[in-house]
Subunit: 349 residues, 2 copies
Amino acid sequence: MSAVVKRFPQRLDTRQGQVDMTHGSGGRAMAQLIDALFVKYFDNDLLRQSNDQAAFNVDAGRMVMSTDGHVISPLFFPGGDIGGLAVHGTVNDVAMSGAKPLYLSAGFILEEGFPLSDLERIVESMAKASKEAGVPVVTGDTKVVEKGKGDGVFITTTGVGIVPEGVNISGDLARPGDVILVNGTMGDHGVAIMSSRENLEFETTIESDSAALHTLVAEMVSVAPDIHCLRDPTRGGLATTLNELAMQSNVGMRLRETDIPIKPEVSAACELLGLDPLYVANEGKLICICPAKDAKAVLDVMKSHPLGEDAVIIGEVVEDEHSFVQMETAFGGGRVVDWIAGEQLPRIC
Amino acid sequence: MSAVVKRFPQRLDTRQGQVDMTHGSGGRAMAQLIDALFVKYFDNDLLRQSNDQAAFNVDAGRMVMSTDGHVISPLFFPGGDIGGLAVHGTVNDVAMSGAKPLYLSAGFILEEGFPLSDLERIVESMAKASKEAGVPVVTGDTKVVEKGKGDGVFITTTGVGIVPEGVNISGDLARPGDVILVNGTMGDHGVAIMSSRENLEFETTIESDSAALHTLVAEMVSVAPDIHCLRDPTRGGLATTLNELAMQSNVGMRLRETDIPIKPEVSAACELLGLDPLYVANEGKLICICPAKDAKAVLDVMKSHPLGEDAVIIGEVVEDEHSFVQMETAFGGGRVVDWIAGEQLPRIC
């Protein structure tokens, strides 16, 4: 229990209370909020020090840093909430360099009037995700904006991690002949959010795939340190992310539609909603591009991990000065899988 | 020039254009925005790699990490804007551990309809502050929320830095007998913002003191590695920050009102606005608590730095199990300088 609780023993009213402007003032109310929610749930020595920064020892090496703002709407959705998502999203961005994520920071922007009970649920879920991932939230910040100047809660998380010796993964390293893999079905997260927004009901609830992928990545790089690219296909989905990688590496890609795993219920919902699942966001999926010689070893280790059971090879990298992503369709034809042009799914993460 | 510009040569309309939902979609419009603003102004190799994370080498040692959300209103104010502030705020939070700040990340939450010309001004100012500080913005993220769900722009920055060997600064290390110093006048930032909000005009414009303090800190720790506490008195001002430190260290403090530097125009504005300058935010000031034996050396080095010309000793740390901050007033009386209770100045940073 921190010094703040000793001095301010009043409980925060997390049942009936709401966020008010004093919770962002730097004074007593903010100290209470921090103690009754953040220090309580995140529960680690670095946070408990109550300094404006967290200090920890690092070994010499290659460090990565990544940041992600989370503005998803609704805040609670089938399979997760903004709290868990804010942990998974940044753990994954760090892990996509092959790094082992070490620590997270969290910046909250709260809207005046937001129920403290909802904030507590979110912080609790964030703490759970952080503990499960073994990546503690060691420092943070809270701001409050007036009612109508925000939308409940926005959470910006930043992560740092260390890349194992010999691993060098980057979006510009895909080479013709490389193989493209994914760890599972596409579009689950985006469809879960859209169904929840539209109040659609299906026979089975479609849940977000929100998950931390760093333990999967650790096993992949341990069997194949020469993996070229890893990226999580979030906003814009598989199609947009592959286009980014193709452009960065100045290569083309050829996919086989029949090999891209999509759940039947996600397919059906996409048809109903007028969405293309290849452009729909994922939050527990990764694209891996590796030399053909490593593909089997990578696929095997993916399939033996709980988050890679449905892993599959979906295509190859080819030479193409126009960096087109092309797909052999289920009917044997071909199509260019282009960048997403406009906004397909706003505030999906 | 990055791959994105090669492929999407259309210019972003930063004269007439506005932020729209597509700028957060993960697609083409977002890539254009990132390239035409962030990559252009922040201009460094790590950002230009276009990965979802930045990688850099670190030496073994003690690292610090700090994060700060910036929701200041108005976005532009006398002496600065949210962009410069977002750099200074986090550079300072890192530096207050005695660390040398190395890298920054930046997460933007933009409101639909926000003028791109204003965003460009902000990014340009952020880039300038980052270059002047020598702390590059190496990775970032952009989200867009619907009109009425945000307030122009919020910026969350996170910084990492390395603490020099032998330096150990923390809020719980103040000891009775220690000396309390500040590097200059109190309340300038908060009064600049409030005057600007209230459209107050004074004979001289009161400007924010927004500045990066890490070079000042580096000189201070080089002459006195045994400094006990450093903290920047932002939200809640000098009074609240001293109360935090007193509580963390379980000590009391005694200040002399006549020694606390306050500009006459800030004093006058505070009287007009009904504010107590001791509770008003600063963005280029620090509190230093060090052993009495080091005080002269620290003071001398502060006074010889452009950001410490008005440095002064304002009081001492004393034994006090109640952790009270007390002040000998200008009239020879005494008063307890308590925590700020409510919200004095909303959205001041």
